[in-house]
């Protein structure tokens, strides 16, 4: 019977686990190189998917620039293109998926953990800056353009604009709440330093 207060007992029990079918005592070096390339490819693919989404949005707004009859709608579409490009740039700069740095071992576990959490917290906290702020002016101008182009539907457009605004606030609130939760984790880590 294992005595949980006895160091040797606990350590022997832990180390008695059978090796199982996992990687075991190493991965063949040829496979390591393939896997390393695979991980980088996966990260590249994830980022490409996001850029492709931005490209589709730019194309759709671009189409509106040439097809909409109202000047305000055209201006709004143009502003949205700038907004999408700005958002994509900021996400690329601060929020893109990355492979792990090769100097992992130079950072103690607690520092590395804290840095990762801080990056996650900042991304959550700044969603308004990355996503909401760049896109809002274009959408707002387009909504005004829509209202002026279809005065009979003004109230309906205002109603949906308010709904959209509230939804956006909801998303922001969820992100800020998540950021606060991450901050609590960071604070707990700091208590250990």
């Amino acid at each position: 019977m294992t005595d949980p207060q006895n160091d040797r007992d606990l350590q022997a029990l832990w180390q008695s686990q059978s090796p199982g079918k996992d990687v075991g005592s190493g991965v063949a070096l040829t496979l390591i190189r393939e896997l390393a390339q695979g991980f980088e490819y996966r990260v590249t693919r994830r980022n490409r998917r996001e850029y492709a989404g931005a490209a589709v949005a730019v194309a759709l707004f671009g189409l509106s620039v040439f097809t909409k009859s109202s000047v305000l709608l055209r201006i709004g579409s143009g502003m949205s293109i700038v907004g999408v490009i700005a958002a994509a740039y900021m996400l690329h700069r601060w929020g893109s998926a990355r492979t792990l740095p090769s100097d992992l071992a130079l950072t103690s576990a607690i520092e590395f953990h804290r840095a990762q959490l801080e990056r996650q917290r900042d991304l959550l906290r700044h969603v308004w800056l990355y996503c909401v702020l760049p896109l809002t002016p274009g959408v707002l101008v387009m909504e005004i353009g829509n209202a002026l182009a279809q005065p009979e539907h003004t109230w309906r457009i205002i109603f949906w604009s308010v709904v959209m605004f509230l939804l956006m606030l909801g998303v922001l609130a969820l992100n800020w709440r998540a950021a606060a939760r991450v901050q609590r984790q960071i604070d707990r880590l700091k208590e250990n330093l």
């Binding site: 019977m1 606990l10 996992d22 991980f39 090769s102 130079l106 984790q185 707990r188």
Partner: protein, 176 residues
């Protein structure tokens, strides 16, 4: 980021040595971080790749053991953070000590059951406490654990003592 420059056989040799010496410990570490078999395999592979990469810049900053465990724990913790959903269920030691344990009267535990209970407890720990516990279970002393994690040896000893206390309660009460 590209692949590390080919530093020839030194990087490969260091990796082979580390994998042979610490391979089983890395497997146990992966089990403690990832209960799902497929994801665990991903994690182990990611740790091995990160290790191999890291040896391109291995100097005399620290021992091979400290280097290996730092890489492994840093990779594992980045996975925990990526999987935010699960991270929300992780708790600190304070909460763990307060959590009520269901009582049953089973007192005699065989090793398998004891190991399951230990693993269940480890899966509940937040990353920092988990790292301390895993390194302790691998037989490292408080000073070495402190060097790898970046906290004082005294803090390590306190954490180990507290986890052992919770573990003892769970062994006695039979909480999985």
């Amino acid at each position: 980021m590209g692949l590390p420059p080919d530093t020839g056989s030194r990087q490969d040799r260091l990796y082979a040595e580390a994998a042979a010496t610490f391979g089983p410990a890395l497997q146990r570490l992966a089990r403690a971080y990832e209960p799902d078999a497929d994801r665990r395999l991903d994690l182990i592979q990611e740790i091995h790749v990160a290790l191999w990469r890291s040896f391109a810049s291995f100097g005399e900053e620290c021992s091979l053991r400290t280097w290996v465990y730092r890489v492994a724990h840093n990779v594992a913790v980045s996975q925990v953070i990526r999987r935010k959903r699960r991270a929300h269920t992780l708790v600190g030691l304070d909460e763990l000590e307060r959590m009520p344990a269901a009582v049953d009267h089973e007192q005699v535990l065989d090793d398998r059951l004891a190991l399951d209970r230990m693993m269940a407890l480890i899966h509940q720990l937040d990353p920092l406490d988990r790292q301390v516990m895993l390194l302790y279970l691998e037989g490292l002393d408080a000073a070495s654990i402190g060097e790898i994690i970046g906290i004082s040896a005294g803090n390590v000893a306190t954490k180990v003592h507290r986890v052992k206390k919770v573990l003892a309660q769970r062994f006695q009460r039979g909480t999985p």
